[in-house]
Amino acid sequence: MLILALDTATAGVVVGVVEVAAAARVLAECRTSGVARHGEALAPTVAAVLAEVGRRPADLDAVVVGVGPGPFTGLRIGMISAAAFGDAVDIPVYGVGSLDAVALGLADAGGTTYVVTDARRREVYWARYTDGRRVDGPHVGPAQDVRDALAEQPADRVVGAGALLYDLPGAVAAGATAAGLLAAAVPKLGQGPPEPLRAAYLRRPDASEPRPRVPAVPR
């Protein structure tokens, strides 16, 4: 089984091609970091990664994509690309949690792990894992929420750009990987048609109806 794995829930794009037989093997992977412009970078990266392994889109059997949480505009670019790609070659598209793909991509995920990414607006997205299984979250909130959680449930490791940004104790860099995306999708693969993709925004659209308005005409 040949799988295309994508994630655009953080500042970079993650694209990988994974072969799943008895075990999963990442054939090729490209991860950009920094201030990637997802809309410009993603499609050429997919083309390059496929070319690197000498496969065509029609050779793929499924797409796995991170559905967030992550900043909305970037997140949507990965999700719509996965949905369109899957529709074009008529293969299933599986959505997985983007924080899960970080946790499950770690070389060692034993014990308690916090994954913390940047949610902008002085907030973070975060979740807690025990032995690679999500036990709390995903949440969006100020970094102080994570500090409070850490005080109650100490961590073996705290990872992600949000952890570094807010200088959480013991923070180390880590992001989603093709292997992590695949590991998060494994329970779903081959279990019938995938559920419709739903973005994990965790926030409502900014426009708020009840905001009192200045009357157009002064009364």
């Binding site: 505009t73 902008r120 900014d206 905001r211 005409v217």
Partner: protein, 151 residues
């Protein structure tokens, strides 16, 4: 500080003085009902920055970035943004710290975009085209420049 603006050219001239006095990172909030002259004032601010054309109402796209002046000019209409809105989600290709940001309908909402701001409350006198502008500086940067804006 309240100024009387008998005609549209006076509104524009006030904008030009604000634009000329503006520095990178400045935030200006414009308030006032429909037809109070917010876009005309914004056009003046643009002129003060050296942008003579192309500043039109940002209502439809919510935000426009003009780069042809001496400092990038970010022009925002916040009428349809509310709650915890921040410009982040508009994904402006611009660093607000490097720009002059003018927000129409931004009072009560956009103040946190900058450490301090200048608020310009525009009002049209009922039954006439005479406007008044009330300028309020929220911090030392604008307070120091306020006197230069009256003339």
């Amino acid at each position: 500080m309240t100024l009387l603006l008998p005609e549209a050219v006076d509104t524009r001239a006030l904008g030009t003085r604000i634009g000329a006095a503006a520095v990178r990172g400045d935030l200006v909030l414009l308030t006032g009902p429909l037809g109070a002259g917010k876009t005309v004032l914004a056009q003046g601010i643009g002129a003060g920055l050296g942008i003579e054309r192309g500043i039109v109402s940002p209502t439809f796209v919510l935000a426009r970035v003009h780069r042809e002046g001496r400092i990038p000019f970010v022009h925002v209409d916040a009428y349809r943004l509310g709650g915890r809105a921040e410009l982040d989600d508009l994904d402006l290709d611009s660093d607000l710290a490097e720009s002059v940001t003018v927000v129409e309908w931004g009072a009560g909402l956009a103040e946190r975009l900058g450490a301090e701001h200048l608020q310009v409350a525009l009002r049209r006198e009922p039954g006439s085209d005479v406007r008044t502008a009330t300028l309020t500086a929220s911090g030392p940067g604008w307070a120091a420049r306020l006197p230069t804006l009256s003339r």
